[in-house]
């Protein structure tokens, strides 16, 4: 059986700079894959190439056998890849549950002209029930009718997660999910991500925080200067010489200099 997501020979150049070079990896249903690397390694570029914000110079992205390379973001979402943002991007004029309902947009089947005559209400009601379930799933069951402005940053991240799940994704992408969270919020989010993967949804995350991702990820891809230098289990990654040189080694030098 082939993987859910197949990334093949993906390359992105910005002028003379090669941000991502000949990158290939697989992601299976129900798997949590972390992409790590030092700043400028090409993590965010990879993320943007898959989610459709950037167009690759070469290479392919295939989801469930369908070539989705170079499609715009709304079509990527339409194929079942939903995402969260590093800096929370809620719809600020809406309540919490309405935000989740926007995530279910791609599931709506009533054609828009019919809506003007009042059709689609049953569909909307069932989407609302599901949105409430998702809020309970991420741990925000009592916030449905609150304004998003009342949520803390960590709760906002959970809302983004519920919103992404509302689109019934086959794959969900997290852009530095631990950034800005307290240790308790990190633990809560890690458990939510584990539960998501347990439902058979593929999880791709890019992350800096080793304490967050090493116990969470099933597999880790390490990038350095746009190239893949490792693709292995978290335990192996922590001991890989190339990874330590590229990633942890730099951090140790920094610490020595600071001290």
């Amino acid at each position: 059986m082939s993987a859910l997501l197949e990334v093949r020979n993906l390359t992105k150049r910005f002028g003379g700079l090669v941000a991502v070079e000949d990158l290939s990896f697989d992601l299976n249903a129900g798997e949590i894959l972390a992409i790590i690397g030092p700043n400028g390694a090409g993590k965010t570029t990879t993320f943007n190439l898959i989610s459709g914000s950037l167009k690759a110079n070469a290479g392919r992205v295939v989801l469930g056998g369908i070539d989705i390379t170079g499609l715009p973001p709304h079509k990527i979402a339409g194929h079942g890849i939903m995402r969260t943002f590093q800096h929370n991007m809620p719809f600020v004029s809406m309540t919490v549950i309405e935000n989740v309902l926007v995530g279910s947009h791609r599931m709506m089947r009533t054609p828009w002209p019919a809506l003007m005559a009042g059709s689609g209400m049953a569909e909307d009601r069932s989407a609302r029930v599901r949105a409430q379930e998702l809020l309970a799933f991420v741990g925000l069951p009592d916030y449905a009718d609150r304004s998003v402005g009342e949520l803390s940053f960590g709760q906002g991240r959970l809302l983004e997660t519920a919103r992404a799940l509302a689109g019934r994704p086959s794959m969900i992408m997290f852009d530095e999910p631990a950034a800005g969270l307290t240790p308790v919020e990190c633990q809560r989010l890690a458990q939510v991500i584990r539960d998501i993967a347990a439902q058979g949804i593929a999880v791709l995350l890019i992350e800096h925080d080793m304490n967050f991702l090493l116990p969470l990820a099933h597999r880790v891809v390490v990038l350095n200067f746009g190239r893949k230098i490792a693709d292995a289990l978290p335990a192996t990654i922590a001991m890989d010489a190339a990874v330590i040189a590229a990633y942890l080694g730099t951090a140790r030098r920094k610490r020595a200099r600071a001290g």
Binding site: M82, F91, V92, M94, G103, S104, H105, G120
Partner: protein
């Protein structure tokens, strides 16, 4: 169902009240009432585009004019019947709206405002320079009221038709606003990037909203043509367009009730202020908009919500 029954009661009660007013008001009052119904209808559709979807376009009165002029020209000069002329008019306005929306969709915010402002100016120039076709600066007047199934669309009948237009526009926009489509519009206004990541086709949604609300303005224009049986270029100029923006902001953007309240207050205000300050009421409007933007961004309807909450909290 309790909720559905309450909604039905509100609609029937509202319609009865509006129809009742028709018979209470007479003469001058009835004329003001007709114009107010038209203005409130325009405010509703403009609010959907500007308030819900966040598109800053200044062509709403242009489409109102396209509606009024098309139906007038098709009926008086081509001799078409009202239903045929009305359908053709809706078609024409939709085509013009699409021709504006598709290229304008590459423009954002400020540039959409400029492009539609240019369209509005070109429209006025075209009407004034249109010779016998548009009646030039004098417009077209003196044509007779149409009939529908033998009932003349004049006097009270016409006011009832306007109430139908107003409530029909409100119903359509209410249904649409509450649906996933309305949520998509607000999502685009709040954050287009996040909206796209949720699977919303931002360009397509923007084009639909512009075309739909502009066509609703054109439909209101068809009715306008028979209000006084008179169409004139200056009725569809830039000044009433800015007044419409003021109405939506002062009333409360993104809320149907806000659009209705804003249109009512700003439309009726000159009737009371006119004797005191004359044409300078525009200055007062400018002040109101600045005050609303600074202290009450949710408009009069937001003020009403706050008062209601405060009263509800009191034991």
């Amino acid at each position: 169902m309790n909720g559905a029954m309450r909604t039905a009661t509100a609609w029937i009660g509202g319609a009865a009240l509006l129809v009742g007013l028709t018979y209470v008001l007479g003469g001058y009052g009835l004329d003001i009432y007709r114009k107010l119904l038209l203005t409130a209808t325009l405010a509703l559709s403009y609010n959907f585009m500007f308030g819900f979807a966040g598109q800053i376009a200044l062509s709403h009165y242009t489409f109102y004019g396209i509606g009024a002029y098309s139906v007038t020209i098709l009926m008086t000069q081509a001799g078409w019947s009202l239903p045929l002329a009305a359908l053709a008019t809706i078609g024409i306005s939709a085509v013009v709206a699409l021709a504006v929306a598709i290229p304008a969709n590459r423009l954002e915010g400020f540039y959409l405002a400029l492009a539609t402002l240019a369209l509005a100016q070109i429209f006025i120039v075209a009407l004034v320079q249109g010779g016998e076709f548009t009646g030039g600066a004098d417009g077209i007047f003196g044509f007779k009221s149409p009939e529908i199934f033998g009932i003349p669309l004049s006097g009270t009948n016409f006011v009832i038709a306007l109430i139908g237009l107003f409530l029909g526009t409100l119903a359509v926009l209410q249904f649409l606003g509450r649906s996933y489509f309305g949520r998509a519009c607000r999502a685009i206004r709040d954050n287009p990037r996040a909206a796209a990541a949720m699977g919303i086709n931002v360009a397509r949604t923007n084009i639909i909203v512009f075309t739909l609300t502009s066509s609703l303005a054109a439909i209101a224009g068809i009715f306008y043509a028979f209000a006084d049986r008179f169409v004139n270029p200056y009725v569809f100029g830039i000044e009433p367009m800015f007044l419409l923006v003021f109405m939506v902001i002062v009333g409360g953007t993104g809320r149907h009730a806000g659009a209705i309240v804003g249109a009512t207050v700003l439309f009726l205000l000159p009737e009371f202020l006119g004797d005191i300050v004359g044409r300078r009421y525009i200055l007062i409007y400018g002040l109101l908009v600045v005050l609303a933007l600074m202290f009450q961004p949710n408009g009069l309807i937001g003020l009403y919500d706050q008062l209601r909450h405060r009263l509800a909290r009191r034991p």
